[in-house]
């Protein structure tokens, strides 16, 4: 059953991300992006990372896609760029790049990234919580600074736009 689900999710993700890039109407592109995020969330659930999957839906589709949609609607009904004539060349390049990435990925074994806490069957959500706070406390602080800077920067930009 897992194989069938994985195939379905992977197809949905790849197909909708291709659609997101190629759509002429940007609103369709943004909606297709949302669908591909949904596929990624499903893949997270398949990988037993349900926490990340749930928040992928909440943050990416719920917030980022909304922001993109709103901005796209704001910019106006312009068509995307007309399709390039170099369609075949770009397809070949895409194929080569994905082959390269796949080869590089398969060469990287699991031993290349030793996790500090390789829990086996004892992994559960409380483990996630305590690991996050205890081991990654300092990156958490830096993350809060980054988020705060993002909000302040966005607000300043939005404010400066209006004050003409």
């Amino acid at each position: 059953m897992t194989d069938l689900t994985f195939l379905a999710l992977a197809t949905v993700t790849v197909a909708s991300s291709i659609l997101a890039l190629e759509a002429r109407d940007l609103v369709y592109g943004a909606a297709a992006l949302g669908i591909s995020f949904l596929g990624i969330a499903g893949l997270f659930f398949l990988l037993d990372a349900s926490y990340i999957g749930a928040f992928q839906i909440a943050v990416y589709i719920g917030a980022v896609v909304v922001l993109i949609l709103f901005t796209v609607m704001l910019v106006g009904p312009q068509l995307g760029e007309p399709p390039l004539e170099l369609k075949r060349l770009s397809l070949l390049i895409a194929l080569l790049v994905s082959l390269l990435l796949g080869t590089a990925g398969s060469l990287t074994s699991a031993a290349a990234f030793p996790g500090p806490d390789n829990c086996g069957a004892g992994c559960d959500l409380t483990r996630l919580s305590s690991t996050l706070i205890n081991q990654y406390g300092v990156p958490l602080e830096f993350l809060s600074l980054v988020l705060a800077a993002a909000v302040i920067g966005a607000l300043t930009l939005a404010k400066a736009d209006r004050k003409q």
Binding site: Y51, A58, G62, L125
Partner: protein, 333 residues
């Protein structure tokens, strides 16, 4: 891995499939949606000293919802000029699927739950977070001024009240230590209903979920006297039914989540079966939310957004602090 076709066949003939389709699955969701249409109109009418729907059946017009569905199906389906057909039709369909998805997570009784997902609570709230996108697309797709303004208002309103909703549910997670909805109910079995330590959180939850559902007093996006049903204005007959349905299904889902988080879900003395307890509690909450409609005036948009981002956010942080002291204990600061 066995043959996918035989797996599908095995699934279709299993009891799980019966659970998905009939109860507590799709058919019961549809029937409940139609039922609550009648219920709200009857309740609102009685509060306003009217009789309400009474013609569709001898027993107080209880079939009104189904009569509405049949009527709406026969109407002409006119899509406005220049409207984006795909999103116009797909938005209410997606909203219905979201409503069904929400109900799939709730434990109705021990063992009666479509999917006891480990991260049930964040999954529920995450699916709720999808609805601003849908409403924005619905309002945009009609290519008409009223729906567009209504869709934008709905977007701002729902995103403003999303964060206090998350944070008020956070208090429950702090006290129970689990994200699983069945686990939260079982915690309340041992430790008492969570509405007592989390009274502030429960109040915040009801207020923010009423705002999420765009019900009065927060129904500015659908304001009938202002922008003519807002983002639902251009929706013709059958599609209008598809737009109204998710509103009631979301009401049921939020009330069910409230009773799961704060009122102990299906718990209760064994005289009555657990599922009846669950319905009783949920109906109480639904009646309360419906009574809001008859009681409070509509809130203006900028007041609404300001209150959401200041007062409600502050109160939900206060709720988190309260829950912190409940869990950790006052001396340990």
């Amino acid at each position: 891995m066995s043959d996918p076709v035989s797996q599908i066949l095995q699934l279709v003939t299993s009891t799980y499939f019966l659970e998905i389709v009939v109860f507590p699955g799709l058919i019961s969701i549809a029937i409940l949606g139609a039922f609550f249409t009648w219920f709200e109109r009857k309740l609102t009418a009685r509060v306003q000293l009217r009789i309400g729907p009474s013609y569709s059946s001898p027993v107080g017009g209880i079939l009104q919802g189904f009569a509405d569905i049949i009527k709406l199906l026969f109407k002409e389906l006119i899509i406005p000029e220049g409207a984006d057909r795909f999103f116009f039709i797909m938005s209410p369909v997606t909203a219905l699927i979201i409503g069904a998805a929400l109900l799939g997570l709730i434990p109705f009784a021990p063992g009666v739950q479509i999917a006891n997902v480990e991260v049930g609570l964040p999954a529920f709230l995450a699916i709720v977070t999808l609805s601003p996108t849908i409403v924005l697309l619905a309002g945009w797709s009609a290519n008409s001024k009223f729906p567009f303004i209504g869709g934008l208002r709905a977007l701002f309103q729902q995103t403003a009240y999303e964060i206090p909703l998350w944070l008020s549910a956070l208090g429950v997670v702090m006290i129970t230590g689990t994200l699983n909805l069945t686990g939260i109910v079982q915690f309340q079995q041992n430790n008492g209903w969570l509405i007592l330590p989390q009274a502030l959180g429960a109040l915040l939850f009801i207020v923010t979920s009423t705002a999420e559902m765009e019900r009065l007093p927060f129904d500015l996006p659908e304001a009938e006297s202002e922008i003519m049903m807002g983002w639902q204005a251009e929706y013709p007959g059958p599609l209008f039914m598809l737009v109204q349905g998710p509103a009631f299904i979301k009401l049921y889902a939020f009330a069910a989540l409230f009773s799961t988080l704060y009122l102990g879900g299906y718990l209760g003395p064994a005289i009555i079966p657990p599922i009846v307890w669950f319905f009783l509690k949920t109906i109480v909450i639904i009646v309360a939310i419906m009574l809001f409609r008859s009681t409070f005036p509509r809130v203006r948009l900028d007041q609404l957004l300001r209150q959401g981002w200041t007062t409600l956010l502050t109160l939900s942080i206060v709720n988190i602090v309260i829950a912190y002291f409940i869990v950790v204990g006052v001396p340990a600061i």
